[in-house]
Structures are given as C-alpha cells and as structure tokens.
C-alpha cells in the first residue's frame, strides 16, 4: 500500500477529513518547499499538492498563474523541486503529490522518465491536470510503475459514465473539481453532495475536492461529503500578500492551514458517507 493510500485509509478509519494544501514550488522563495513542507505537516495537513511551475497553466486563474510566473522568474526547475523534496522527505510523514502539466512531463523524460525522477525524489503521487483520460494511459502506468499514485480530474461537465471510468483509473484519490472554470477564490460554497454520492457508488477510491475552495466554511461544506478538501488559490494569495507586506509567507500560510484543518475537524463522522464498508488493508 502506498503512503497516500495509507493516509486516506487511516483518516477514514479515524473519521478524519484531510486538508490538502496546494503550494507552487519556488513561489516567494527559491527554496519554499524546504521550509514549507515541515511547517504544513505541523499545521495538520494530510497531503500536500506541490505544483511544478509552468509558463502557460491554462486551468489556473490569475493567483496561481502569477505564483508560477514568479517561481519561473527566479529560475525554478523540476530538478530543483526534486532536490528540495528529497532534502526533507525523510523527516516527513505527510503525502507529497506533484501537480504537473504534460508539457513539463513530456520534456522531463516523458511519462516514465518523469515518474522515475519524482518517485526517486520522494513524491508519493502525481496529479495530471491537463491529461484527459484518453491521453493518460502511459502517464498512469508510469506513475504506478514508479510506486506512486496517479490522479486525474473529474469536472462538473464530465458525464456520469465517464466520471466512473476516470475514477476507476485513478489510484490514491480522485480529484473532483468542485466547479467548472479555472482555479481561484469564490464567495459561494460549492455543492458537491450529488456528484460525490454518485462516485461513491462506482469507487472506493477516496475523493478529494478542489477548485474555488477558499474559506473554512467552504471546507466544511465539501468534507461533509468528500474525503479531502484541496485549497490552492486562497493559500497562494495569502503567501503572495504576506511576501508583499514584508511578512513571512510560510507563517501566513501555516496560520491559514490551521484554520482549515480546524474546520475539517469540526466535520467528523466515524466514516465519510461512502456508502461502502471501510477500506481494509489488503497486504
């Protein structure tokens, strides 16, 4: 069982919901990750999603796109990201998942080459945000081959049968988009109940929900149903803001993650409404 699978299994057994913060590698400081990852573990994050900066992230809104451009301007490369992860991996229990565009994967040795490097560095999983199901066979196989989980996205525009097929192809967790559109903060809480329930019928794989989840209130709404809430833009924005104000970006982020973790803890049932028996360890 991979680390990601273990983390989600334990959380389910203990009735906990996970907060999955998103951080853009190289944002605010060249070596953000080295300081940030231990601090996030301390703040109670379950799995951290590490974005490899890309020059043209079409699924990302202005906040994350600006963070990526900021990281690229200070010369952030996949190699640096791997090195930083490798530096702190041994001291951490949390899951580390790479969010990476296929444009970068293609150049970093292709699906196999990239997966091998990521796993070697200590990543536990990969999210491919711009690889639809039809293009993902090699990517999914490469991640598994390297001992990592692989997650694809399911959108509100995804028809039910297709959503099921995608969910079955994912390992570790399914990334359910809370909304259409790009990443970014929103004022209203997303309603994911129906789509989570439909997916539960098709798969036992944990469901993590992201896009437009900006507040503790949104987190509460989402983890009523899903196993985890992914928070990106709202967190990245706090880091950018702190940096602009001459404050410590990591501290600002950690304070916010604590709030989110607290919100998730308020929603605690013995099991999320999986409609299934608890996942049992197979090995």
């Amino acid at each position: 069982m991979t680390r990601i699978e273990t983390i989600f299994r334990d959380a389910r057994q203990q009735g906990r919901r996970l907060i999955m913060p998103f951080v853009c590698a190289g944002h605010t400081k060249p070596d953000t990750l080295v300081h940030f990852l231990p601090a996030l573990q301390h703040a109670g994050a379950g799995v951290v999603e590490i974005g490899l900066p890309f020059s043209d992230p079409i699924a990302d809104g202005p906040v994350i796109a600006a963070a990526m451009h900021d990281a690229l301007e200070r010369g952030t490369t996949p190699e640096q990201v791997f090195n930083q992860v490798a530096q702190v991996r041994a001291s951490l229990d949390i899951g580390l998942v790479a969010m990476v565009s296929v444009s970068i994967v293609y150049r970093a040795g292709g699906p196999d080459g990239f997966a091998a490097q990521a796993a070697q560095a200590g990543f536990d999983g990969v999210i491919y945000p711009d690889a639809p199901f039809e293009e993902a066979d090699d990517l999914l196989a490469a991640a598994r081959e390297a001992g990592m989980t692989a997650s694809l996205l399911i959108s509100p525009t995804t028809p039910a049968a297709r959503a099921e097929a995608i969910a079955k192809a994912c390992s570790g967790f399914v990334y359910l988009l809370a909304r259409t559109g790009i990443t970014g903060e929103r004022s209203d809480a997303p309603d994911v109940a129906g789509r989570v329930a439909a997916l539960r019928k098709a798969t036992d794989t944990p469901i993590a929900c992201g896009f437009g989840i900006s507040t503790p209130e949104h987190v509460r709404a989402v983890v009523q149903h899903a196993d985890a809430a992914i928070v990106g833009s709202a967190l990245v924005k706090r880091m950018s803001q702190a940096e602009a104000d001459g404050q410590d970006a990591v501290e600002a982020a950690v304070a916010f993650v604590r709030e989110l973790v607290q919100a998730a803890a308020e929603v605690s049932k013995p099991e999320p409404d999986t409609g299934n028996e608890p996942v049992t360890e197979s090995d």
Binding site: L72, I104, E135, T158
Partner: protein
C-alpha cells in the same frame, strides 16, 4: 533541416513513384479518430473542456452529410466573402524575378488572392464555418484569440452576421501593433479584452481564451483561429480553410493547364498554409514550402520558427513542434508580424515536416519587409506582414526555378493593418 529533393514528374497528375513502397494510409487521411497526425496532435486539455471538445466533434461529424449546412456555407462564401478569390498572375513580380535569374530560369509567380476575401484575409473562411457550427450547437456566444487581429476581426464579423455575442482576447503588445484591427473589432460590436500577462502576445491571448472557455462552455464556443489546439480544432480549421487549395487547384488547371510546381505559404499557427496545401498533399510532385518567421536572428527569443528551430513538445492542447526551454517552459518569440508571433504550430504541419511532404524554412523580418515593399510597388498589392514572409520565399524560389515552371504563393491577407508598423520599422532600419 534538410530540404526535400524536388521530384520532377513527367506528366502531371501521375503519382510519382517513390523508392519506398506506397503507404497504405495517405498523408491526407490524418487525423485519426483520436486526433493524431502521425505521432502529433492529440488532446491535452483540462477535463472541464473535454465535454466541449466532444460535443464539437459530434456536431462536426453530424454535419458531414448535412447538405444544408454546406450549402449555407457555400452561399456565405459566394455572396458574403466573395469567393472564389482570384488567382492572379503577378507579371511584374515575375519579370523582376526573371531579371535576377540565370538563363532559362525565373518561374511565373501566381498569387492566390485571399487578401481579397471579405475582411481582408483567409481567416473569414474559418470563422464563418465555426460560427455556423456554433448555431448548430445552440450556443449564443463566441470567443476568440487574436494576434494580428485578422482572426479577431473575422470572428467579430461572423458574430455580427449571425447575431452572436463576441469577446476577443488580444495581447496588449499586439493591440498596440495592430490598433486598426482593434478599432475594427469594436466597430463590429465585439468586446476586445487586452491581455497583460506573459509576453502580451498571441500565446497569452490563447491562454486567456481557454480560461474563459473553462467557465463558459455551456453557452460559448471558442473559435480557435488556426490549425492549433486540441482535437478536433486542427482538423476543423484545416477543413474550413481547405477551400483555398480546392479553388486554387481548379483555377490552376483552368488557367495554366497544370498544377503549379511549387506552392508557398507563411506559417504561424499554420491555417492559411494548411488551407492551400491540403488539396495538394497527395499530389507528390507539387513542392510545398512553409515559411516561418525568422525574426532577427536564430537565437532563442529572436524568431518564431518552431518547425525550423524548435523541438516536439506540448502546447495549447496538442503535441507539435514548439519553442520551449529544456524544461518545457514556453520560450519568448519574436516576429515583426503579430500573426506569426507564436511559439507553436499546428500538429499537422509537424506531421508534414516529419513525413518530408512539406519543406519548412524561415525568412527574416528584414526579408519580409523588403518583400512587403516589393509587392506593393511591383503589383499595387500591399500584403500583410505575415504574407510578406511567403512572398519573400516565393520570389527566392522563382529565381531558382525554370522559366516554364509556376510558383503559387498564398497571398493570405492584406496589409492595411500593417502600414503604420511597417513604416515605423522601415524608418528604424534607415536610421540604423
């Protein structure tokens, strides 16, 4: 890159025998159902856009046998766009080329006058087709990205004709260079959204249009302006543009009694080139030459020639040749022509390059400017700066070709939009 060896056919229209066994699949059969042109193409997009692309694929399939759709499009092309556009024998351009050619050389130069199409460029061929598809899908709004503004104007025009809402994304640097087209779009009732991110050019406008579409797919169709993007866009845009080559083929047979020996077109994303090449792809004795923007130098950042200087990579939804650094980050590009100022190119061109069916080369800003003036003064035709790249290479080829041969250049657009920028560049060059 190595240029393909020109084949000299004994009679036109016979398939030139090749050393390798005849391929079972013709080059023109691409793409596959998955949108693959050889190994290129595909559909690398966020899941949210998959439903929209699937819908587009299905609607496009359904209209293949819908005679009324094609009849409506043909009527629009005839009575609205003014098709067929003329095939023009450029006598003075030819004479000038002959004067520089060795004895017995200096091919006749023909121009396919897409600059005479309504709105002044080939772009209208695609926007009318896609606007009709938009109506078919029952969507009320279109969005578009634009570099030179020609696709933006053509989109705004189609939107006005069909009564659709229209938002056009344009890099702020391009909006500065192509002020006239910004004004035209606004006059046509479109909303022009200037993009300040990244390099403030076509690539960034494309990013923003895709982001818009992520949140508006239900009621909005994204009219991509070139043979780029995820499947099925490269195929659909090529098909709507292929009217150029179909007409040119018939016109050549009628007026010169044969196919031209060579066809030249400029390549940014590659829609005008795909449009004129496609009907000739299986006529192996017709040399096809695509001309990219060589900019000011071959160093990264100083040109926009992915097929000439780039490598395979993924950008804006498909695998093709791109200008990227070793990590997959998109490189800066430069061209005097806003329409060619793009780090990627359509996947079908990548396929044509790798199969050696089309030869790709580039010409510099300076050569394009010279050709711009040359065509204006020799023929009274002011071409777009994009088109001027093809003119420059076409003249170069004509000088090398035999006197009894013909070179057809796709005169893809007119240059009204460029006169101020060209004047500025010419003045800067004089003072250097």
């Amino acid at each position: 890159m190595t240029p393909t060896t020109p084949t000299t056919p004994t009679t036109q229209d016979t398939q030139t025998p090749d050393k390798t066994p005849a391929p079972i699949v013709r080059i023109s059969d691409a793409p596959t159902a998955q949108g693959r042109f050889g190994r290129f193409g595909g559909s690398y997009i966020p899941e949210t856009l998959v439903a929209a692309c699937t819908q587009l694929k299905e609607v496009y399939k359904s209209i293949q046998r819908d005679e009324r759709f094609w009849e409506e499009l043909r009527d629009l092309q005839t009575y609205y766009t003014g098709r067929p556009t003329a095939l023009y024998l450029a006598a003075r351009l030819t004479a000038n080329a002959r004067a520089r050619a060795s004895h017995g050389h200096g091919a006749t130069i023909l121009l396919k006058r897409e600059d005479l199409a309504h709105t002044g460029a080939h772009k209208i061929n695609n926007t009318l087709g896609q606007a009709l598809l938009t109506k078919k899908m029952g969507k009320r709004r279109i969005i578009a990205e634009t570099g030179a503004g020609q696709h933006g104007v053509a989109s705004a025009t189609a939107a006005a004709h069909f009564g659709l809402e229209c938002d056009v994304y344009m890099g702020s640097e391009d909006a500065r260079r192509q002020r006239l087209n910004v004004t035209r779009m606004k006059m046509l009732g479109a909303n022009v959204i200037e993009v300040d991110s990244g390099s403030r050019t076509l690539k960034d406008a494309t990013n923003e249009a895709m982001r818009d579409w992520m949140d508006s797919v239900e009621h909005t169709h994204y009219i991509i302006g070139s043979v780029v993007g995820p499947h099925p866009f490269p195929m659909i845009v090529r098909d709507f543009q292929s009217v150029i080559g179909q007409e040119a083929k018939a016109q050549c047979l009628r007026h010169i009694g044969k196919l031209p020996e060579a066809i030249v077109a400029c390549v940014g994303g590659g829609s005008n080139a795909a449009g004129i090449f496609y009907s000739f792809i299986d006529d192996e004795h017709v040399r096809l030459i695509g001309v990219e923007a060589g900019g000011t130098a071959i160093e990264p950042g100083k040109h926009a020639a992915p097929l000439t200087h780039g490598e395979p990579g993924i950008l804006h939804g498909s695998l093709s040749y791109v200008l990227q650094d070793k990590d997959g980050q998109t490189s800066d590009v430069h061209s005097c022509s806003a329409g060619l100022d793009y780090p990627g190119v359509g996947p079908e061109h990548a396929y044509w390059k790798e199969s050696s069916r089309v030869r790709y080369t580039s010409c510099s800003d300076d050569e394009a400017l010279d050709a711009f003036l040359h065509l204006a003064r020799a023929e009274g035709i002011i071409p777009a700066l994009e088109t001027a790249h093809a003119i420059a290479e076409g003249i170069r080829l004509a000088i090398e070709m035999r006197e009894d041969e013909h070179v057809l250049i796709n005169c893809s657009g007119r240059g009204d939009k460029d006169v101020e920028e060209a004047a500025r560049l010419l003045k800067a060059r004089e003072s250097d």
